[in-house]
């Protein structure tokens, strides 16, 4: 049985797809058979970040509607051996995702993969509900600002009440907080909430803190999951998050502002 992990947030633009790409790539890099599903029917972003948009023939909705087999729709990643992508449809409505259809596909994938990562669309509408319904675990992506925290809180409430686990009365969905776009300098100036603030409000375990970085944007534009930028702080922060997801204890990094001295500027290029 695969572990089904939804990457969700409520709010848009906080880094769900970036996170889905990096977490799934990270899991696959460690040898776990992983598939990442784009639930954002109608918009389609994941294939761009994973740099496989030119290889999309069939998509998630085609498979649900029986127009293609799962094997025809799954795209094998070119960089990491054990990673597959199930892209979203750009031409369909979100309503094409039915509970039964999604269940059938998840069950089928569950037999072949160790991890199923579901990239949720923003909002709390049908698409987002479908993405989280079958989840065993949830990575709640949050930016350190009040409205994002509020939306994350809302989505946590939905995970507790509307997921399959909640409806069946099983153990609740395991929740992880991933703080993205974290900028310690701006926290110090009081322009952003601190890690402690967010943890205090949401009261769920912290999976990781991803520092705000130009590298994340560059990597997305080039179609590289940022976790593959192994020298970057954001890449390493995602690597830590994956390790923690697998049960490893790692200390949180990149949370304090780096006072750069003259020498480090010289040698690291600022």
């Amino acid at each position: 049985m695969a572990r089904i992990i939804v990457v969700t947030s409520g709010k848009g633009g906080v880094g769900k797809t970036t996170t889905s790409a990096s977490i799934s790539t990270g899991l696959a890099k460690l040898g776990h058979k992983t598939v990442v599903i784009d639930f954002d029917v109608g918009l389609r972003n994941l294939d761009l970040i994973m740099n496989c948009e030119r290889r999309v023939v069939y998509d998630f909705v085609n498979v649900i509607q029986g127009e293609a087999s799962l094997n025809q729709a799954l795209i094998k990643d070119k960089r990491v051996e054990t990673l597959y992508i199930l892209p979203a449809s750009q031409t369909r409505e979100k309503e094409a995702l039915t509970k039964e259809g999604v269940e059938k596909i998840i069950n089928e994938l569950s037999e072949r993969f160790d991890y199923i990562v579901c990239d949720s669309p923003a909002g709390i509408e049908h698409g987002a509900l479908m993405a989280l319904y079958y989840a065993d675990e949830a990575i709640v992506v949050t930016n350190p600002e009040v409205s994002s925290v509020r939306d994350s809180d809302r989505i946590l409430g939905i995970l507790q009440s509307k997921s399959r686990r909640a409806e069946m009365g099983q153990d609740p969905v395991k929740e992880h907080l991933l703080l993205t776009r974290y900028n310690p300098d701006r926290v110090e100036k009081g322009e952003m909430l601190s890690v402690a603030d967010v943890e205090e409000i949401l009261a769920i375990p912290l999976l990781g803190v991803i520092p705000e970085s130009q590298i994340v944007l560059n990597a997305s534009n080039q179609g590289v999951p940022v976790i593959l930028e192994e020298d970057s702080d954001a890449g390493q922060a995602y690597e830590d998050a994956v390790a923690r997801l697998l049960g490893e204890q790692r200390e949180h990094r990149f949370m304090a502002s780096q006072k750069k001295g003259f020498f480090s500027r010289m040698f690291k290029g600022g």
């Binding site: 509020r150 809180d153 809302r154 409430g157 939905i158 507790q160 009440s161 409000i201 009261a203």
Partner: protein, 254 residues
């Protein structure tokens, strides 16, 4: 499966219910008052059963239009299921509107729990002596069990203890709402809205570990965040109703 098993069994049930004590009936005034009541506790009235108490009805029987009352309530998702008390004429009108007839007044649940007076829904309704209120009054019988919630109440969620107290062993988040007929206890930060005494119990109180609320209301008297910040903000407090206004006192000083 037991072959001799019956399809159903009649059981005596005693359910605490909301009663609307009607003094006179004027359609527009009725609708307006109902609207006001609902606005005080929007979630509480949804799909709730209601009995019309006629014991204190003073208007002429001819003005008593049950179809209009049912229709008005129905629009707010409140289900009128029967009448209590009233004269023979009034009860005939009620029966005409397919309402169940409950015996009048000051009797307690136990005294009316014979199967004969249970209505179709298996509900026997009786109330303690009614409190007075402008249009409706409701109260629950003696020892209603407290509802206990151990998870945080998240933004967008609503938890209601329609009888008795509500005890939350975690935080009530901004954008969440907790309601209780009795007291509201929050053993965590209260960041959302808390409404105690939603049926009009003025002795109800709100207790919390850290007052950061958007709104606190007791028996319809409320204060919003802005008016709460001067006193006991972000500390452990209790809030009670004294002379029609909310008073915040720190918990450590009783």
């Amino acid at each position: 499966m037991n072959p001799a098993r019956q399809c159903f069994q009649i059981k005596s049930a005693s359910v605490s219910m909301t009663a609307l004590e009607l003094y006179f009936f004027d359609e527009s005034e009725f609708d307006q008052s109902l609207r006001d009541k609902i606005n005080q506790a929007p979630g509480f009235f949804r799909d709730t059963p209601l009995i019309i108490s006629l014991e204190k009805y003073e208007g002429p029987s001819s003005e008593l239009d049950f179809f209009k009352i049912i229709g008005n309530c129905r629009r707010h998702n409140i289900h009128v299921i029967g009448v209590r008390g009233g004269t023979d004429d009034q009860r005939r009108l009620a029966r005409g509107a397919s309402l169940a007839l409950l015996p009048g007044g000051n009797q307690r649940d136990r005294e009316i729990s014979e199967p004969a007076v249970e209505d179709a829904a298996g509900v026997a309704a009786g109330q303690n002596k009614a409190q007075t209120g402008p249009v409706r009054s409701a109260e629950q019988s003696g020892a209603a069990p407290a509802r206990i919630v151990s998870q945080p109440v998240r933004s967008g969620q609503q938890v209601c203890a329609s009888e008795g107290d509500l005890i939350v062993l975690a935080s009530v988040q901004a954008g969440a709402e907790v309601l209780a007929a009795g007291n509201v206890h929050v053993y965590g930060p209260l960041r959302g809205r808390a409404l105690a005494g939603i049926h009009g119990a003025e002795h109800a109180r709100v207790f919390c570990q850290s007052l950061e609320a958007e709104l606190v209301s007791i028996a319809g008297q409320y204060k919003i965040s802005e008016d709460l910040q001067d006193n006991g903000w972000k500390t452990a407090v209790q809030i009670q109703l004294k002379d029609d206004s909310l008073v915040v006192t720190p918990l450590d000083r009783g």
